[in-house]
Symmetry: C2
Subunit: 230 residues, 2 copies
DNA sequence: ACAAAAGTGTTCCTAATACACCCATGA
DNA sequence: TCATGGGTGTATTAGGAACACTTTTGT
């Protein structure tokens, strides 16, 4: 039951987003160097407070667009972190999300007031110490991403509209950190029915590869593009 | 970015808990009849606002003990619901949990000011209309519970310390709404290594059944493979 | 002796894995 | 013609699913 007391001392509510992308054959996370106290000068996850008239998802998408310039993103709620002393300034509850973005869609210049030096894509296997409990959040996101990769085709969200099966396999190998068998991988992906061949081939120095695209017609049960709660 | 504005108009943060138990061979959810507006007289999930010095988990456990008298509960965070107009009184963000309790541990009398008439265990297949977006929350909890039952032994949390394998099978059958094969079920459960036989037998009108207990040494998280298909 | 629940093995089938060679192209 | 990545099929194995009878007890 709510008491009058509760109504006066309210926590702040923020969103934090673990943004994954694949660049240079590595899984990267977007980090922001903090300008103010607390943890000034330390790296942290992008995020911010929820506006009073927007849903947490919208807040996450807004922050994401501000930092990466990308609008069409796979976004999934991760977990809500609310330990009383996780933020030294006071009570802040953070709804954490993770996002998957195609690196080719990222705009090189960020739109906000941030300097480029303060916004970096960092290799997940080479993370610095992070502000607040953001290391826990990244760890949780990684666990969830890897888990989800085992039984869905989320990996598609990290690729451009047209991609080869080898591209997709590379995404899985990078994230799961293990080599996969080419024939078995293709069998599995094709049997899921989540991709369809474009009739275009990718030209290159060697044999042209068939380009595929994400098949939108598939029911959401097999491949979730939208998260729960409309 | 947070503006000063945000810092003044903060949302309230609540927890709502979907408490499952098995009674009378049915899966039940704990509901509370609301005494005040909004939705006065309607059924709703137990829950309440987070105190300023407690974690969301602690808030959920506190509410849970108030309503059921049970302390030792399986509790898992579900999802955070934060649509701007989900509560007509104003901005309320709710961190939803689900809990599994052994019905034999529930104290018949609730400790709060609630009348017993206003606190009921209701069959999940026979839910009334619920206040707020609580029907969505229950739906989500059910989905998650069923999903988790497929590959873990969470069902154990609904049973007393000692139980027969038939008891456990009944739990799974009730929640998944399907009949399971006795031999396959036992093979699976025993191969997981999550239970161990007590050396006691349950006496009854027929052949005595071996009683089992939950084996604490084994992490319940690791035991089956997930199917590729979602 | 019988009613009622406890307990137990084997066969079948599907799905995952392991594994190696030919193909098409640009240089 | 060769270097490079693209593309394909089969045999084996492991795990899930289907399936029926004997055992033990209380009445």
């Amino acid at each position: 039951m709510a008491t009058e007391h509760d109504k006066y001392i309210k926590p702040s509510v923020a969103v934090d987003i673990v943004v994954f992308t694949i660049m240079e054959n590595e899984l990267k996370v977007l980090l922001i160097k903090r300008g103010q106290q607390p943890f000034a000068g330390m790296w942290s996850l992008p995020g911010g407070f929820i506006h009073i008239d927007e849903s947490p998802e919208d807040a996450a998408l807004r922050e994401l667009e501000e930092e990466t310039g990308v609008k069409d993103v796979y976004l999934e709620q991760l977990y809500t972190f609310g330990r009383p002393n996780r933020d030294p300034r006071g009570r802040v509850i953070s709804i954490a999300y993770y996002a998957l973005v195609d690196s080719s869609k990222i705009k090189p210049h960020v739109t906000g007031a941030e300097k480029i030096e303060n916004v970096q894509w960092v290799d997940v296997s080479d993370l610095p110490k992070l502000a607040f409990d953001h290391e826990d959040i990244v760890g949780y996101a990684l666990k969830r991403l890897r888990y989800k990769m085992e039984y869905t085709a989320v990996g598609l969200e990290l690729l451009p509209d047209l991609f080869t099966l080898t591209d997709l396999q590379r995404v899985y190998e990078i994230i799961l950190s293990e080599k996969l068998d080419k024939r078995n991988f293709r069998k599995k992906v094709l049997s899921m029915g989540v991709v369809e061949p474009a009739k275009i081939y990718k030209k290159g120095p060697h044999r042209p590869a068939m380009l595929y695209r994400f098949k939108k017609s598939k029911p959401a049960s097999t491949f979730k593009r939208i998260k729960f709660e409309g």
